[in-house]
Symmetry: none
Subunit: 199 residues, 4 copies
C-alpha cells in the first residue's frame, strides 16, 4: 500500500483497473460494468467504494498527480541548481517510463482538462507539479547555468520539448527499448540546451 503501484484493497484494485480501461477508451468509454468485470466483482459493488463514476475518475486523476509529484520531489536533495534541474528531468523520464498511462492522463487527455476546470483541488495538484518545474528553471537562470533569458519563456520551451518528446514516445514513434529511449532523451536534452544551428 505504500508503494505507488502495488495495492491490495478492493478499492485500490478498482482504481488500477479503471485507470487501465480509461487509457484505452477515454471517459465516455469507461464503464462501471467493465471495470467490475476486470476486478472480478459485480458492477454495483463499485458503489461501495466510489459514490459514482465521476468520483472514481476524480480519484484516478488525483492519484496521477500525486504519483507524479512523488517522482519529482526527491530532486530537491541535490546540491546545485543544475543538478536539481537535471535530476528533475531524470525523474520526469522515470515517471513516464514507469507510468506512461499517468503521463498521458495528466498531459494529454482532454477529459482531465475538463475535470481540472471544475475542481479546485485537482487544479492545486496540477499547479504543484508545474511550479516545481518552473522553479528549477528559474534557479538555473539565476545561478548562471542558463543564458540570461526570460525564465517563463524558457520554461515554455523546456516544458513543450519534454512533453512533446514523451508524446512521441507514448505514440510509438520512438525506439521501444527503454535504454535507447533514455539515451535519445539525454542527447535531445543536450541539443536543446546547446542549440542545433551553426551560428
Amino acid at each position: 500500500m505504500t508503494s505507488e503501484s502495488t495495492s491490495n484493497s478492493t478499492k485500490d484494485i478498482i482504481l488500477e483497473r479503471a485507470l487501465e480501461q480509461y487509457m484505452e477508451v477515454g471517459y465516455k468509454g469507461l464503464s462501471m460494468r467493465n471495470i467490475a468485470q476486470k476486478v472480478g466483482i459485480s458492477a454495483t459493488a463499485i458503489y461501495r467504494h466510489y459514490s459514482n463514476k465521476e468520483a472514481l475518475f476524480h480519484q484516478i486523476i488525483k492519484t496521477g498527480f500525486g504519483t507524479y509529484t512523488k517522482y519529482l520531489m526527491p530532486a530537491l536533495e541535490a546540491d546545485t541548481a543544475e543538478k536539481r534541474f537535471r535530476q528533475t528531468l531524470e525523474n520526469a523520464l522515470n515517471f513516464v517510463l514507469d507510468h506512461p498511462k499517468y503521463f498521458e492522463l495528466i498531459f494529454v487527455k482532454s477529459d482531465t482538462k475538463d475535470e481540472l476546470a471544475n475542481h479546485d483541488d485537482l487544479r492545486k495538484d496540477s499547479k504543484i507539479s508545474f511550479d516545481f518545474y518552473s522553479a528549477r528553471i528559474h534557479e538555473c537562470i539565476k545561478e548562471g547555468v542558463f543564458k540570461e533569458d526570460h525564465p517563463g519563456e524558457v520554461s515554455v520551451l523546456l516544458l513543450a520539448s519534454f512533453t512533446g518528446f514523451f508524446s512521441l514516445y507514448i505514440g510509438g514513434l520512438l525506439p521501444r527499448s527503454e535504454d535507447e529511449v533514455r539515451a535519445l532523451y539525454w542527447r535531445t536534452v543536450n541539443r536543446i540546451l546547446n542549440g542545433i544551428s551553426i551560428t
Copy 2:
C-alpha cells in the same frame, strides 16, 4: 466563417459539427443523434450522407490530414533550404492557429491512432505530412544550415518541440492573443536553434 473550411452542403455541415463534437467528447462520446441535432436535421438523416459513424469519423481525419498538407506544401516554393524550413514552421503555426481542432485530432487524440492503425489510406496521408517535415530538416543539415548532426534525431527534437508547443497552446497554457503566440513561437524556435545554456 470566411475561412476556406466553410461550406454549405448538408454533408459538409455534418462533417464540421461532427469535428467540433468529437473534439469535446472523443470518438466514444461522438453521438449521431447529437450531431444531427446541432445540424438541425433528424438523427437518421446523417445516414443519407455517411454510411455509419466510423465512415464519418474516417472522413473527419482524412479532411484533417488533407488540410494540414495543404498548409505545408506552399513552403516548397521558397528558394533555399532554410527558407523552406522556416516557411514550413510558419505554415504549421498557421494551421494550428486556424484549425486548432484539426491539430489536436492529428497529433494528440488517441482515437486517431486507432483509426490510422486500421486504415492504410489514412496512414498514407499521415506519412506524407511527417515526411515533409523530415525532408526539410535533412535539407538544412545537408546544406550546412544546421550543425552536422544525426538528421533523424534532430527531426525528433524539432517535432517534439513544436508538437509540445502547440499542445501547450491548445491546452490554454500560453497567451491567448494570436499575435503574442506568434511572437513567442518564433522566439522559442530561435532558442531551440541556438540553444539556451551557456556552454
Copy 3:
C-alpha cells in the same frame, strides 16, 4: 412476359427479387431498400409500381398460387381418373422442382397464412388448388381405383404425405439430384398406395 418465370418490366423484376428475398428472410425481413438495391433502382422507385410493402407481398402470393394452378390444370386432359390423378402428382412435383420457393411460400410460410386470413381473393386462389387435388381423389375412389374409403380422409393422407415429402426435400433432407428425387418420389407414392406393412 407470357412465360411464368421470365419477365422484363421493372414491375415484374421487382416481384421476382422480392420473392427471392422473402424466402431468405421472411416478411419482416423483407426490405424495400434491399429489393430496390437488387433490382438496381432507388428504394422509392418501388412505390411507382406497388403502393406499399403489403401490396407487393400480396402480389407475390397471388403469383405463387397462380403459377401452381397453371401447373396442375393440364392434368385434366388425361382420359382416366387414375391418369388424371397420377398426372396431378407429376405436375405438383414439377412445380416444386421448378419453383421450390413458391412451394415453400404456399405450403410452409406462416406469413402467407396471415395474408390468406385477411384477404378473400387469396383465399379463393388457395381453395382452387386444394379442391383440384380433392377432386382427383374423389374421382379415383368413385371409379374404383382406390379402395372404398372416406374420400376426405384419403385426401388428408395424400395431401399430408406429399406436402411432407416436399418439405423434406426443401429442407435438404433428401438427395439433391433431381433424377433421384423424382425416382424416390414415385417409389414413395407407390408405397403409400400399396401400404408398407405385412398384413
Copy 4:
C-alpha cells in the same frame, strides 16, 4: 397452465413469451421490447437473463428439442418393436397436441434451420430425435413387422407423412377437437401401413 412447461422464474417466463411471439412473427420479427412488455418488465431487463436475442432464441430451440426428446423416449419401455413404433407415433402426436408451437419451431420454421446450421449443440439435439424415429422403423423391418423394404426410404415416407399430417393440423386444415384429430391420426396411420389402393 398446469402443464409441465410452466414455471415461475422471470427467466422462464421470458422464454415462454418469446416462444409465443416467435411463432407469430419469426426471428426477424421477434422483438426484445415486445417480449419484455408481455412479460411485464423493462426492455433491458431481459439482458439480465439472456445475453442477447440470439442467445434467447438458441434457448428456445434447445428447449423445444429437449421437450420433444422427453416425449419420445418412454416409448423404449415397450417390449416389442411394433409396440415401440406405435408408442413413438403416439408420443409424437401427444407432443404436437401439447406443444404445437414447438412442433412448428422444430419441423417447419426455416429460422431454426439457420440456427441448426451454425450451432453444433443444436444439431446434435436434432439428430437425437431424428435417429430415434429411424431406429424404430429399422427395428420393425428387421423383426418382420413391415414388408422387407428399404429402411431409409420407409423412414422418409413415414417422416414425410407425419410431418405433413401435423403441418395440416397446425395450419388449421384438420378438425379442431383433440379427440377427432387423434382418431383421424390413427386411421391415417393404418391407411399408410396398409395402403389405400386396391391392388
